[in-house]
Symmetry: D2
Amino acid sequence: MQATPVTRGRTEPLDRRYREVRDLTRALAAPLSDADATVQSMPDASPAKWHLAHVTWFFETFVLRDHVNGYSRYDERFPFLFNSYYEAEGERHSRQRRGMITRPALDEVLAYRDHVDAAIVDAIPDLPEAARSLIELGCHHEQQHQELFLTDILHLFAQNPIEPAIWPAERKVPVDMPGPIRWAEHPGGMVETGHDGRGFAFDCETPRHAELLHPHAIADRTITNREWAQFIADGGYRDARHWLSDGWAWVNENAIAAPLYWEQRDGVWTRFGLDGRRPIDPAAPVTHVSFYEADAYASWAGARLPTEAEWEAFAGDRDPRGGNFLDAAGPVEPRPAREGGGLFGDVWEWTGSAYRPYPGFRAAEGAVGEYNGKFMSGQFVLKGGSCATPRGHARASYRNFFYPHQRWQFTGVRLAKDI
Amino acid sequence: MQATPVTRGRTEPLDRRYREVRDLTRALAAPLSDADATVQSMPDASPAKWHLAHVTWFFETFVLRDHVNGYSRYDERFPFLFNSYYEAEGERHSRQRRGMITRPALDEVLAYRDHVDAAIVDAIPDLPEAARSLIELGCHHEQQHQELFLTDILHLFAQNPIEPAIWPAERKVPVDMPGPIRWAEHPGGMVETGHDGRGFAFDCETPRHAELLHPHAIADRTITNREWAQFIADGGYRDARHWLSDGWAWVNENAIAAPLYWEQRDGVWTRFGLDGRRPIDPAAPVTHVSFYEADAYASWAGARLPTEAEWEAFAGDRDPRGGNFLDAAGPVEPRPAREGGGLFGDVWEWTGSAYRPYPGFRAAEGAVGEYNGKFMSGQFVLKGGSCATPRGHARASYRNFFYPHQRWQFTGVRLAKDI
Amino acid sequence: MQATPVTRGRTEPLDRRYREVRDLTRALAAPLSDADATVQSMPDASPAKWHLAHVTWFFETFVLRDHVNGYSRYDERFPFLFNSYYEAEGERHSRQRRGMITRPALDEVLAYRDHVDAAIVDAIPDLPEAARSLIELGCHHEQQHQELFLTDILHLFAQNPIEPAIWPAERKVPVDMPGPIRWAEHPGGMVETGHDGRGFAFDCETPRHAELLHPHAIADRTITNREWAQFIADGGYRDARHWLSDGWAWVNENAIAAPLYWEQRDGVWTRFGLDGRRPIDPAAPVTHVSFYEADAYASWAGARLPTEAEWEAFAGDRDPRGGNFLDAAGPVEPRPAREGGGLFGDVWEWTGSAYRPYPGFRAAEGAVGEYNGKFMSGQFVLKGGSCATPRGHARASYRNFFYPHQRWQFTGVRLAKDI
Amino acid sequence: MQATPVTRGRTEPLDRRYREVRDLTRALAAPLSDADATVQSMPDASPAKWHLAHVTWFFETFVLRDHVNGYSRYDERFPFLFNSYYEAEGERHSRQRRGMITRPALDEVLAYRDHVDAAIVDAIPDLPEAARSLIELGCHHEQQHQELFLTDILHLFAQNPIEPAIWPAERKVPVDMPGPIRWAEHPGGMVETGHDGRGFAFDCETPRHAELLHPHAIADRTITNREWAQFIADGGYRDARHWLSDGWAWVNENAIAAPLYWEQRDGVWTRFGLDGRRPIDPAAPVTHVSFYEADAYASWAGARLPTEAEWEAFAGDRDPRGGNFLDAAGPVEPRPAREGGGLFGDVWEWTGSAYRPYPGFRAAEGAVGEYNGKFMSGQFVLKGGSCATPRGHARASYRNFFYPHQRWQFTGVRLAKDI
């Protein structure tokens, strides 16, 4: 486990890369009991054990089964249990029933990981380039699940009335509040958007293409908890004018009145996190808000959310590996960004762009082609990465996506406006 | 009632315009009984009586109440009953309970219309320009409800096991099949999109702005019923590879296997329409398909849906008043388009564009500002107008929008592809 | 239409009996519009038009089709539309979709009634005894639907925010409150229960059999609105101790805090009835309460509900045709009973007895055997008849039954206790 | 752990009784992992860990807290987590969220058990009689939970596609089929029903009272799996005539076509049990059938279910401790009864009697008064005990109760008929 940022390029040996990713996943699982790893807290979330097995199934299926002669499945029953949504890979266990799988136990799943790890590491020297690419893809895939692992287990622990801390930690020292938002203006014009071909990318980030921007300004930092508390105090959750129609229905049907995990205790706003329940840090970026909330806040503030292309232009060539990312297992959380910083890391930033294919998009061939393209309806793009995103996983062209009501990820808000 | 296309410009006298619109609505209601006009067949649809009253409430509220001294409400209870979704106009009856309002009866609602009509026509000569604009807006608003009136009543009659024809009609003479699709290529580049300021437009069509197109081709006609039947026969509804993930879930949860209102009777595909149940016309455009179905068809055909801007560029300066539109009450239905024609009218064409604000969009002031902007999440844009759209209501910049699963409108498919 | 109690025995001519029943149904429908008669306000209720047609279908099917040579169906599509639940009679329209049938219109249904009435009256002189019995059964069946007709239409009108009165009426003169409950003691012992064979009875009332009573006392009158208001004021709806577990869940899930149709307006308890909304009459029996509420009230009052056999023994040989019953179309409602009276009529009285078969029960032969027996799970017995029950329809052995949460019938409470 | 039947009376020392019960519970938990013990498979079932803790909370609350000076709660958070439904004991965790409690872990719950056990055993010598009675009640309470523990864990394992055996076991040797049912006739008359005061009973079994039986006959054995397979083969699940209306709706909405846990594999009926999946044993009593199924089977067979009083009279003074009961942890299942035997044990037998209070019933005082009385609506009585009922727990007066659709208990069918 490393405590410093990972910096690596394509030249890093594949086996080292593989082992680092796999080790971090295991470290995340270290504090979990068999029960913690088994329960599913809602249909959107998966059990930790399922994450551990599913990412392993991915390597076993697309690398070992397809590219290693003589490999035989660790357990013939696992594909049914641990395929996520790959229709081309056949029938699978219902997503909302993943929490019923008390066996295999956590230890058995870890043994499955060991078995596949040994086979992969053993095979790497002789693999063809296609298989090596799949290992690279599998590592990025596993990094995505590392983030889901953290947010899903946080959601589970939040359901427990005794509110256990997953990683107990010292109370943080309060920090100074950031100053008012400063606006970075952009005169509009043609920009290049999408992945530039250097390093890994998912298919949905391609092809790189021109986009036309219109004149606008974008905030130099994200919205803080203190600012969000002002939105609440001003009746933001009860004023229909600020809300999209779907969002207003969602607020009312679910009695939404604050970000997820916020509760008022003795008049103080607290939040539940990987280190248990604590008062909110007023200077930290607000997180666990839905697109609907983000959009309503922007309306209340007289602004709007940035588009994906605006955000990407703003990111420019900043180093996507800086900032507050996941380096090691522990109670990650958004930290107060220095003014003008924090574009990468801390919280995923909702954009106003629907998640749709780029011009000329083609899904990858084969089962892995189901990775992104089939989710391109009803969701919104988020940019930048969060404190739960493995360092090195995010980049400016990265397109994260969730439904507008979802908020169990570390999701926050950056404003933009027309000029 | 007129049988020929309406052609009018801004110079048409406002009172004539008002009366023509109001008269057509009343003609649409002519074949309906009190019961037909009262029942709500699903939460998405509204009773005919509600449409008749709601559009009247719109004029009464935003013109008579706000701009005519001394006007007093026809009935103080009606705003609660007939406000649709204007939060700024106060509490209102729940949308899904609209079918419970057996009283006021259809006749009473028609008397309400008469009362408001007389007051409007009386007031027009002295109204300020702002109020005249609201009448113009109210006419366009009512035209939208004319289309919903037809599609809602069609949906209601389709629920009745005895399948009554709303407007009984002669069996149509079969027509020749259109030839294969021909593709109109576009080299890409900058285009102007959105309303050009000539004539009426809704706020969501503005501001006009530059868009960057990428090279593509667009089909010269829409998909026919015969082509759709081939898609079905080829197992299109049972092959997950063609479907968006949300669409696949929708297909399976609702056992979708054909367009809405299609049923196989004695081995023949039939459809239910305003003239009752009939065999499908193979040469006519397929209609009553959802975005999910349209997108799956496009995938099956090796193509995609056009973007809104591509569609608008393709429409160019063709006359939006031509084609098969609603001119008079009767059993409208999509008619086989001449090859290369039919861009306007017949069926609304799903685009691949999410319904989101244009750059620099600002909602209109006041309660009418709730008209469009608050619906800008989760829906897709449709272009061109249908056989149920009043002639003269559609235009190239018009942005119709529905959720991707909805299909009780006259919705069809035009393909596009990258080149 | 008659305003005095009907008194008749088996010797009344069948055609006169038939016509009286049919005429009363039609009188009940007189104030209804086509729309009023078409809408279904909840799955438990049926549209008025459906009641009108269904009872007619019953005569047409079991008498005309089965016993009159050469009779041909009025409309071949009607059995599918108007069969209620007789599995032996084939497929039928879904119960919860009855409100979609805007056609045939009310007038057409009335014409269907006329047609069947003429055929029945014409056939009566030559019918065999079995068919005459079916007419008798059909009359009792129609009387049951007369009561449902009233309670269903009341429920529908209660959904309308403008709260129309079905039969507008003068405000009633307040009456004196009844005195405290007096208890009629019973020492226990063997009693005969069930129908004694004199006159008509449904199969579920048979066979008459011995039951063993235990010592108990039964109240001489039902609970009044004033007493119920005290129960509310004492927190009865918020105190779990008084409630059955299922009832407590029902109260909380549905936010139940008063009888159906009660609303507090300006601090005064009002109720909605066939004559519109009015203040409750403190002296009148409480009505529109569920079994759960009745049971909770009894618990709060330190008593219990009577068993069916206790109630029947208490009724003894009182004349079941006395009291406040339905004689003619109009705004029936429970009236303050003289002390010691009111056992029959006013409100159906919940018993503590589950609706289960009597010892030796056998369902009738054929489709009409589905009339009662198949409903013998999950429901509770009610006794005595209500203000909406046609006079002459109730008797001591009559077993009405509803689910414990249902309360849109005129249902009330009589207490009992162990001694 | 003992393998022979427990025979004890009131003179057995209380501490030995307590330890035996507590030890058996722990033995049942022995094969379970932390995850197995944590997951909740449906709202009707509870996690094993919850059972282990809840029965302990019962002793801690009603004995230690109320009767032992100076006892302090093991953990102040546990009452909220482990109270089941005692409203008088305050707020508690939602029943359907019991599976979210991954912590405390199984080991911690077992430590909680140890703590309370030591305190109880230590306190017993000095406890007043009221507290001793509560220990006795607590032991019976825990025995009930032992049965639920087994049926809940069976249900959980049945959700797992890999179908793990909880207690792997040898395939049983097939046994001879029982002969045809023989009918024990009863001439009717007065009988005494309910608990006779000798030994422990729950409040709902009292008071003992006279009941009047009508002439009837009762089968000498329960229905076998082979007979049930004939019912299936004869179309029993598809013939509405045999079903109660609620049952028919349940069958169709849930696509019920066989007992719970039955599946046809390669043309052979199999069942899932505590020892995994196996072919059904044709000679064994059918189990895991609902009241609706039991009632439909009886109708198909031209019989009916016995009433509770008939069953109790038939049981007479047979020894309730004989038969196939739970003696020790292991894969219990119904075993083919010798002809004329098996009244106690093997399967709970559905009666036709709704679970309602006996004449003169009074719930126990205090919180334990919520034990039975508040469940007296909507449920049916079962008699006799099952292979999962701890030996010695059942008796002729015992009233088990479940909703008519529930079937995850070991529930079976004995026929009766009128004579």
